[in-house]
Amino acid sequence: MKPAPFFYERPRDLNAALAMLAANGSAKIIAGGQSLGPMLNLRLVQPELVVDISGLADLKRAEICGDELVLGALVTHADIEDGRTPDVTCGAMRGVAANIAYRAVRNRGTIGGSLSHADPAADWVSALAALGARLTLRSLAGARTLAIEAFVVGALESALQAGEIVEAIHVPARAGSAHWGYAKSCRKTGEFAHAIGAVLVDPAAATARIVIGAIDTPPIVVTDAGELFGGRVAADYKQRFDARVADILLVKAGIGDAVQRHIHVSVLKRAVHEAAA
């Protein structure tokens, strides 16, 4: 189980990396390699050129700008887990990071790489959507910013265009009054989630962001979540959580299998309960 041969380049800076991408249509970016590596080894992916951006210091920034946290794409799950990065989410991101795959994977796996892979079962796709994060994507033509929920468009399919990479993740500060709940169901520790529920509920502001993830298609992101709680988000949201509305959302997303829907709704309920706890 060895990869097909590939060329390897280590660009000196981000622009050089973008130029390499632009010049070679089949080039693949590698950072920590924790998603791409297995696919290369299995020969599911056979790029001509692998562009290793893991050395680019520009992408290893982690700083608070205004009321948001900006993380470079190369920040690893372990960086977040260990608190080497600042936090604006009152520990929510730390908790998510600590339960991604395994420690040895988290030491190399990056937040930007995970998002770029656009695996619906991956944690950041759902968690950051609930936290209301945005991404900066960069190509030689310039940068653009996209909400996470607009970024993942299908299974393993992101909005990244040819020659474009994820540069940074912008995470808004979590309001002091906001409750966070994150639940996932995996058949065993560290494996792909079969259902993810992520909720950010702010009863004080009467707002909520609700995400149903790991559904083989882009996660369902509900920004106006009143309907899920009987019409309004208030302090008693846990009691008012309406599983039937969540089920209808899943039906609308094309999840035809009632068993799968039941599991997703139940896991979402767990997340709601965790937030309210």
Binding site: M1, A4, L42, R187, K188, I263
Partner: protein, 791 residues
């Protein structure tokens, strides 16, 4: 509890019964073990195989790019090599021929079609990727039950059907038919991959000076591999040497002759340089041997007081495309018929079995062989009898288990139980999990919405069964006397050569303990030599939980004879009458003094002038054979009890408590036995909850990575509580019993029974392993829907 040690080594802490740390650990913990992939041979080239992407197809053509013609070999390049034929002499058995490389037809995904040689594996894979196969897909036989339908596609056309073997066994089933309780179900266990952490692997080379093929192979049975290779290659056995180095787990996976072994042997002789193939994980999951896929249609008859009246069963085992060497395609299914009644008494019994050929990998006996499936089927049924009668499940067992005063006991299939107290094991397990407390808790309900349940199961593990059992199967391998060679070295060390192998069982330590028991020699001075046909006595190898009974017995026999010879030499050196000296703690002792084994060895080798004239000319090197007094097998057993919590809405199952009460007779090294039980339990949990190789309707295997084929990790396995009983076998050296497989037999049944106990109030019954979250939720939703419809 365990009886006081009654062996002479008693106080030394090194003999039979000692929890001695293992001699093999140090090298393995420093990365100095030598597994097959670690072997370095000058001129070595790597091999990658072109394998069939289809389950069933006719080969119309194989296109090799011009520039790689010298690197690629197909069936057309090979002559004089016979296919692997693993025949059973049971009447009606149909023979399959597994070719070294496919020609004409492929019968499973992953079947070998061409081999590609290059300096590195990566380059060999590049070449393999360049080979184009022109295949005409044929309908695949993917379901063992449908495979018996008239008109099914045929795996082997000339058979006329897809049945390797059908067996029928009956003891007066009509006597059970009037029983007031009759429960019938279908029960099944999933197809699994044994998944040792190290896969198979072969390094083949040819030694011109010795005119000998040397095959390094990750194998449990090197002597059997050699015999099989000699048959396929048409070579004298003496021209083949099989060496099995450190082996990274076996569990049965390394107990067959592989077509890859035949290929590499042929290839090194053809190419003139050493060649290597290391099985990768995808090959292991997709292309290698599988196990465990059973289906039962079973009826249990009982009286209202829970007394078993009889069992009627039709069992089907998916044997895959080929009969594997040496165990054959029928061992597993045919074994079902003989072991299904287990340790239970019953007056009537009928079992019909089918070993069915499908377009899947060959099936292999995996830890526990058919016992895991059999235990699952029977123990789930007994819980249904309990539900019907209103008895506690434990009570139904206690009413029907063989009682200690009935030992030795011949059950309804004439299995000869050597010893044991099965009801006591069950009672201890029930007490340990405190069934009454679980019932009280259940009546209150859980705050988190989960449901808890308790389940039990019990089994017997027939081990080290020998000639009288295997002669009946008529397969290529029948174990006879197990032999060991013992040699005292000139400096007083002991070398032991045995033909079994060790792939985690700690034989380098436990056999040294046996030698210490016999000779009093420090285990640090005992070297165990295993895994090399050139250096060890012939043996069928390590399988069937036989190594400690058989090789342990052989080592004891060889050491006994060696000690006797040393004692006679020692008596002379002490100038005593031989009748008046004893061998004790590594010395020959008489009334006037003692002489060490080291001094005796020194005399034999270095100062023969001091030896008595009538010394045994065999000297200090002895080969002895051993068989238990009765070779129908030792019967170890255990009762397992599990307490689980089930989330009916997400389907997650947590094991809250797990108790094992085991009786393995006398334990040579209880620490090692505990390790075997804990490890077996982990694999049993895999069978119960995680492991499954699914196939689609075209015979495509669908779990090709360890992200899809889930092996239990540290968070999926609890620390079980172990309780030991000790009923020595009346037939074996020291009273030991084989125990290596047992841990993997009972967990699926105990866990499924616990899950069913938890979910029974919801009207849910899980009769299929593994019990996945999806299956649980599916069943819960179906039960809720049924309840709504009824209302």
């Amino acid at each position: 509890m365990r009886s006081e040690r009654k062996f002479p080594s008693g106080g030394s802490g090194q003999g039979v019964g000692a929890r001695l740390p293992r001699k093999e650990d140090d090298r393995l913990m420093r990365g100095r073990g030598q597994f097959v992939a670690d072997i370095r041979v000058v001129g070595l080239q790597d091999v990658a195989f072109v394998r069939s992407p289809l389950a069933h197809a006719r080969i119309r053509g194989i296109d090799v790019p011009e520039r790689y013609r010298g690197n690629v070999f197909t069936a057309a390049d090979i002559s004089g090599v016979s296919p692997i034929r693993a025949i059973s002499a049971l009447p009606g058995f149909k023979i399959s021929e597994q070719p070294m490389l496919a020609s004409g037809k492929v019968r499973q995904v992953g079947e070998l079609v061409a081999m590609c040689v290059a300096p590195t594996r990566a380059e060999a894979e590049d070449i393999a990727a360049s080979v184009t196969l022109d295949l005409e897909e044929l309908p695949a036989v993917y379901d063992m039950l449908k495979a018996r339908d008239p008109g099914s596609a045929l795996v082997h056309e000339h058979w006329g059907d897809n049945v390797f073997l059908e067996t029928n066994y009956e003891v007066d089933i009509s006597a059970a038919l009037d029983a007031p309780i009759k429960v019938t179900r279908e029960i099944s266990t999933a197809r699994q991959c044994m998944s040792p952490l190290e896969g198979r692997g072969v390094v083949a080379s040819f030694d011109g000076r010795l005119d000998q093929l040397t095959l390094h192979s990750a194998a449990q049975m090197p002597h059997i591999t050699r015999s099989g290779l000699a048959e396929c290659l048409g070579m004298e056995e003496g021209r083949i040497r099989v060496i099995s180095p450190d082996v990274g787990g076996g569990f049965g996976h390394k107990g067959i002759l592989l077509p890859e072994e035949v290929c590499l042997s042929w290839l090194t002789m053809r190419c003139g340089h050493p060649v290597r193939w290391i099985e990768d994980r995808r090959e292991h999951l997709v292309a290698s041997s599988n196990c465990r896929e059973h289906h039962y249609r079973i009826t249990v008859y009982a009286d209202r007081d829970g007394t078993l009246r009889g069992i009627d069963c039709e069992a089907t085992v998916d044997s895959g495309a080929y009969s594997s060497y040496p165990f054959s395609a029928c061992l597993e299914a045919a074994q079902v018929a003989s072991i299904l009644p287990g340790p239970y008494r019953m007056p009537a019994y009928r079992c019909r079995t089918f070993s069915v050929a499908t377009n899947k990998c060959p099936i292999l006996p995996y830890r526990g062989v058919a016992r895991t499936g059999v235990c699952f089927a029977l123990e789930l049924m007994l819980d249904l009898v309990a539900a019907e009668t209103g008895l506690e499940p434990g009570e139904v067992r206690l009413r029907n288990l063989v009682r200690p005063e009935q030992m030795p006991f011949d059950n309804i299939t004439r299995k000869h139980f050597d010893s044991g107290d099965y009801p006591q094991a069950m009672r201890r397990a029930l007490a340990a999990v405190d069934v009454a407390a679980v019932r009280a808790k259940q009546s209150q309900g859980e705050a988190d919405g989960r449901r808890i349940g308790v389940g039990v199961s019990i089994y017997c593990e027939q081990a080290a069964h020998g000639t009288s059992v295997y002669a009946g199967w008529g397969i290529p391998m029948v174990p006879g006397h197990e032999q060991a060679s013992a040699r005292l070295t000139p400096d007083g060390g002991l070398e032991l050569r045995v033909g079994v192998h060790s792939h985690g069982q700690g034989m380098e330590t436990t056999l040294a303990q046996v030698a210490h028991e016999m000779l009093g020699i420090d285990v640090a001075k005992v070297r165990i030599i295993l895994g090399d046909t050139a250096m060890t006595p012939y043996s069928t190898g390590t399988w069937g939980s036989r190594s400690m009974v058989m090789a342990g017995g052989a080592v004891a026999a060889a050491c006994r004879e060696l000690g006797e010879r040393a004692r006679r030499i020692g008596a002379k050196l002490l100038q005593h009458d031989p009748a008046s000296v004893v061998l004790q703690n590594g010395e020959v002792r008489g009334v006037n003094g003692s002489v060490s084994l080291q001094a005796i060895a020194h005399t034999w080798y270095r100062r023969p002038q001091d030896l008595p004239a009538d010394v045994d000319p065999g000297g200090l090197e002895v080969t002895q054979g051993y068989k238990p007094v009765r070779d129908s097998g030792t019967f170890s057993y255990a009762a397992h009890a599990a307490v689980v919590a089930v989330d009916p809405d997400v389907g997650e199952i947590e094991i809250l408590d797990y108790v094992i009460v085991e009786d393995g007779g006398v334990l040579v090294n209880p620490m090692v036995v505990d390790g075997q039980i804990y490890g077996g339990l982990a694999q049993g949990i895999g069978t119960a909850l995680y492991e499954e190789m699914p196939f689609d309707t075209s015979g495509q295997p669908l779990a090709t990575t360890l992200a899809d084929y889930l092996l239990p990790g540290a968070t999926e396995v609890p620390t079980a509580r172990l309780d030991h009983m000790e009923t020595p076998s009346p037939y074996t050296q020291f009273g030991v019993k084989g125990i290596g497989e047992g841990g993997a037999i009972a967990p699926p049944a105990a866990i499924a029974n616990a899950v069913n106990d938890a979910l029974r109030p919801l009207g849910v019954e899980m009769m299929q392993s593994p019990i996945t979250p999806r299956r649980v939720v599916e069943a819960v939703l179906a039960a809720r829907a049924a309840e709504r419809n009824a209302a």
